[in-house]
Symmetry: C2
Subunit: 348 residues, 2 copies
C-alpha cells in the first residue's frame, strides 16, 4: 500500500464504484452491459438475455431494526432487487440471499426474516436458488442478487433517451421518505418516554411505503400489453432528482421537469406540511419509493394517456439546455442531484 | 418474534441454511437447481444453462488482514467463486462484487483489493459486471456472485454419483491448511516481538496455497478434451472429508477412501510434521484447497489414468456400507465430517 491516504468520503458512493471499476473492460461477447445500469445484461440470443442485479443492505446503514420488523426487511430486500430488474424492462425469476449475522440474533429472528423473503418470492413469483450464511462480528447484513430475463431487443438502458422524449413516472413519490421521517420522530419520542405509544394513526400509507415498498412488476406487464418499449428506464431508489440526473447523463441530454406534474399522495403532502417540509422537495429528493422513471417517444403518448399508474412529468431536451425543475410559479431552477450518500455520514 | 430463543450455534452453518430455506420450493420451469449444490442452475436450452454461485467473505471471520494482503484477498475472493462454477462443470464468465467497508480503509486500500480482483478476472477470463458499495460500521465485507454457463446435459451435480464409481481428486490437499497454521504462528511471534521477521523460507508453496488459491478451471478444460463427464462433482472448500460427505449424502451412497492414495505435497507433509500433525489428517480435514472432487464411471478410468492432475482416491459403495477411511495399516475408520463451522466460534 502506498503512503497516500484518500478518505472514502472524498469520492462518495457512486464516485467510488466508478473509480474502482474504471480499469475493468468487458471482454466477453456474452457481456452486453457491465457496471453502470440497474442490472448487468448477459446475452444468450435475440429472444433472451439474462439480467443480474445485486444489493447490499447493512444494519445501521440501510435499515434500523428498532422500527423495521425483520419480516418487512426480508420483503423489502427482495422487492428492491426485483425493482432493479423491472428497471431493465425484465422479469425477475431467481434470487440468491446471503446473510451475515451476529450471535445476538436467535434462529427465530432469522426465521422471521426468511418469512418476509418467502412472501416476496411468492408475490413476485421468483425462486430462491442459493446463498451463503455466516456469522458477523456486528449486526446483520443481507446481500441479494436477482436474476431476471428479458427479450434482448426490449431491454431498457439508461442510455437510450432521445431529445423530445416524454419523461414518465409511475405511482406517486415522496411517501417512503415521509414514512421514514415519521418513524424516526416516533423513535425519538419512544427513547425519551417508552410508555408513549407511537402515533402513526392516519399515516398507514406512507409507513407502508417505507416499510413494505413494492417493485413495479405490474408496470412491466402494462407496458407489454400497451406495446410500449421505453427508450430508457431507471428505478427510483435514491430520489427523483438523482435518477433524472442518471438518465440525462447516460443519454447525454437535458430535461425539463414540472413541479405541478409530480404525483404526490395526499398523506405524503399532509405529513410534509406537518414537518414544515415542501412536498415537492420531498418528492424530488426523498428516496426509496421504488417507482419507475422512464422516457417514451412522443408517438407513444396516446398509449399511456389516462393510465392512472403513469404520469408524464416533463420532457428531454438537448444536453446544452441543462436539467431544469419548473416550479409552480413557472420559474426554472437548475437541478442538483441529491441522492443518498452513505459515505458522507460520520459513521466509522 | 416469539419468546423462544434458539442460538445460531445450535444449528451450525449448513444446518441454518437448510433450516431457513426448507419451506422454499422452486416453482419456475427455468429453475433446474436451487439451494443445495455449488451453484444454482437456470435453464435456457439443452445446449445452455446459466450457473449462479455466491459467497460472502467477512474480515475477522474468513480473512485476517494482518497476513492477507488486500490484493491477494481480491484474487482469492474471485477464485473461490470461479471454483464453485467449475464444480458444476461450467465456465465462469461474469462476476458482481459488492463491498461494505468502514472509513478506516482509505481509497488506496480498496484500489489494491480491486487490483487483485482485476488480476483474477484476467486470469480466469471473466468480466466484472456489477456490484454495490457501501459503508460498514466495522471492517470489510465482500460479497461476490459468479455467473457461468454450461451445456445443460454436462452439468455435474452432487447427486449423480453411482455405486462402483471412482472417486477422483485434483492436485494435492492440505497445503492451504498448513499455510494458514504457519501464518497464524508467525502472527503470534510478531505480536510478541515485532522486530522478528516472519520465517516463511521454504514454505512458499503452502503459503501460496493459502493466500492465492487457484480455481481448477484447467481441469474443466482437460475433462472436455478427454471427453469425461463426471457423474458428480464438488469443490474442496471445507475439507476433503466434508465434501465426501456431501457427495455421499446427496447421491445416497457410501464410500471407501484410501489414506495412501490422497495426494499430499512434500512441503505440506514437512510442515505438518513440524507442527506435530498427521499429514493425512490435514489433507482430510483442512479446508480451502479449492481442488475438485468428482466421481467417474469405471469405464472412464483409462481416459484419466496417468494424468498428473487427477488421482483416484477411492470408490463409491452402497449407502449401507457407510463412509470409510482406510488408513495405512488397512484399518477402516468411519469418517465424520469436520468442515469449518463459523457459528461454533465464540465471536459476537
Amino acid at each position: 500500500m502506498s503512503d497516500q491516504r484518500t478518505e472514502l468520503s472524498r469520492l462518495g458512493e457512486f464516485g467510488l464504484i466508478a473509480h474502482l471499476t474504471k480499469n475493468f473492460e468487458s471482454k466477453l461477447d456474452s457481456t452486453v452491459k457491465g457496471v453502470g445500469d440497474d442490472a448487468a445484461v448477459i446475452y444468450h440470443s435475440e429472444t433472451e438475455s439474462t439480467l443480474i442485479s445485486t444489493d447490499l443492505l447493512l444494519e445501521g446503514v440501510h435499515f434500523n431494526l428498532m422500527y423495521m420488523p425483520l419480516k418487512h426487511l426480508g420483503y423489502k430486500a427482495v422487492a428492491v432487487n426485483v425493482s432493479d430488474i423491472c428497471a431493465m424492462n425484465g422479469v425477475a425469476e431467481q434470487i440468491t440471499v446471503s446473510i451475515a449475522v451476529s450471535n445476538r440474533f436467535p434462529v427465530e429472528a432469522l426465521e422471521e426474516l426468511y418469512e418476509g423473503i418467502k412472501l416476496a418470492c411468492e408475490h413476485y413469483k421468483i425462486d430462491l436458488v442459493g446463498g451463503d450464511t455466516t456469522s458477523s462480528l456486528s449486526g446483520l447484513m443481507i446481500s441479494i442478487t436477482a436474476v431476471g430475463k428479458a427479450k434482448t431487443s426490449e431491454i431498457t438502458y439508461r442510455t437510450g433517451a432521445k431529445e423530445h422524449d416524454l419523461l414518465v413516472v409511475t405511482g406517486d413519490l415522496g411517501g417512503a421518505y415521509m414514512g421514514l421521517q415519521l418513524l424516526e420522530r416516533e423513535k425519538e419520542v419512544f427513547k425519551t418516554n417508552p410508555s408513549i405509544q407511537p402515533d402513526l394513526d392516519g399515516h398507514d400509507y406512507i409507513i407502508q411505503r417505507q416499510l413494505k415498498p413494492e417493485a413495479r412488476k405490474d408496470i412491466i406487464g402494462f407496458l407489454k400489453e400497451l406495446e410500449v418499449v421505453p427508450t430508457s428506464m431507471i428505478d427510483i431508489s435514491d430520489g427523483l432528482a438523482s435518477e433524472i440526473f442518471h438518465i440525462c447523463k447516460a443519454s447525454n441530454l437535458g430535461c425539463h421537469v414540472y413541479d405541478e406534474k409530480i404525483p404526490i399522495d395526499a398523506q405524503t403532502s399532509l405529513a410534509a406540511i406537518d414537518f414544515n417540509l415542501d412536498p415537492g422537495t420531498c418528492a424530488l429528493n426523498g428516496g426509496e419509493d421504488y417507482e419507475l422513471l422512464f422516457t417514451i417517444a412522443q408517438s407513444d403518448f396516446d398509449k399511456i394517456k389516462g393510465n392512472p399508474n403513469m404520469t408524464v412529468i416533463g420532457h428531454m431536451t438537448d444536453a446544452n439546455d441543462g436539467i431544469y425543475y419548473i416550479d409552480k410559479n413557472g420559474s426554472a431552477i437548475e437541478l442538483s442531484a441529491q441522492g443518498w450518500n452513505h459515505f458522507n455520514s460520520d459513521q466509522e
